[in-house]
Amino acid sequence: MAVTGYLSEFSLAELFNFLEQGSKTGLLTLCTLSDAQPENHENHYIWFNQGRIVAAANRLDQHGLAYMIGQRGWLGEHTALRVAQTCNVTTPIGLSLKTQGLLTVEQLKMLFYTQVMRQVCTLFTLKDAWFQFDCKAPLPFAEMTGLNAPATEVTLAALRVLKDWSALASKLPEPTSAVMSMIDGKPQQKLNQTEWQLWEFANGTLSLQAIAHQLQLPLAKVQQIAFRLVTAGLVEEVPLVTLMTAPPKPEPLPMEAAATETTTVSHSFLHNLVGFLKGKV
């Protein structure tokens, strides 16, 4: 069953976390929306293999990578496509070109950076788009360099440079919430200094407001960092209740006291309850 929705409801960061955590393989299509000119929409395609991004393009003819190679003058576009056609259909074109000595490892890295990191990172600036994930779509070997990146690594890179966070305002952790680690040990991802600093507070006890004060950072910045760590699967947001002065409790009536005395629930009670409820099913 295809997973579909809108980025305004389920952000790209959450979507990448979902695809990586679920080790998904398939094609993510993003269709940008334009109220002014509905006929002018753009499609973006990102391919995943076991939760890792392997290729990205704004076309489905599998000529995107060959075009990039041609643009750089490393190889003619047609040459690259001919190589793709003659090689093993299950081998990424990048690996085939490297094996034949036509491209170097450094060139492949540069291609991957442009194709995936740069192209995909700009998608995080979209205010909204319709998305669909098709788990039956085949891998586009003619668009693949042979390199890949975990989806959340791309998320971290993109969110670190995001300037306009207005589309994600409702997703940010609350100032009164804490963050709690969700992993054993330390993060495997490469975190920057402020992310590490916030990570050190991921014990679920101190609010983001208090953390911001301790780190001498703007609250909005700490919320954004916390969101990055949440969508990287490293921490979860834990709301902290604001302590209020409670009114004095009235003395319980004798009947109420008796009613609350039974604080455990017996197995016979549970058996009886199940039996009773089965009559309603």
């Binding site: 069953m1 997973v3 579909t4 929705g5 305004s8 409801e9 389920f10 959450e14 979902f18 955590q21 679920g22 997703k171 609350e174 919430s177 709690m180 969700m182 679920g204 979860e236 947001e237 834990v238 709301p239 209740v241 604001t242 209020m244 008796a258 009613a259 609350t260 005395e261 039974t262 604080t263 455990t264 629930v265 017996s266 197995h267 009670f269 549970l270 009886n272 309850l273 199940v274 009773f276 409820l277 089965k278 309603k280 099913v281």
Partner: protein
Amino acid sequence: MEIMRLVVTGPVGAGKSTFIRSVSEITVVDTDRRATDETALLKQKTTVAFDFGRLSFGPEMALHLYGTPGQARFDFMWDILIQKAHAYILLVAAHRPSEFIDARRIRAFMRQRSPVPMMIGLTHMDAPEAWDLENAAIALGYLSTNKRPPIIAVDPTQTASVAQAVITLVQHSMQDCLVERPA
């Protein structure tokens, strides 16, 4: 009198009040008031304190159901209700992925405060845009089928479906020990 206290929680509009209404033998005591914020886009009224329903069976045995408000600004009520609960069910609307993040917040809150057994009920599974159970589970942070609480589809408007959900939670609770609650 032996009483089991079951808390029904979840984001706004997941079906908590409806769930309790479907199975309570008494008219549910609710605390609905007119919604004034973005909740008004979903529905006219919302719970501002808690819902209460009751199911009596056998002599001196009753199930008390407490529905929490969905809005985070009433999280002090979540705290009050979960402290006395024997188990809880987290309802999540499967056709509103925008609320998966709220569901995760609520679950984190409850888990930090109480170790009692819990389960997840996915509502609105008949909606065309509903996520299927496995994908919703992953989106809620449950990756392994072995290490997660029961997750089932629930129709809060149907007594039979609600009863089945409570049965699932009770049977799950019987595998764990129900924690002794402070008086």
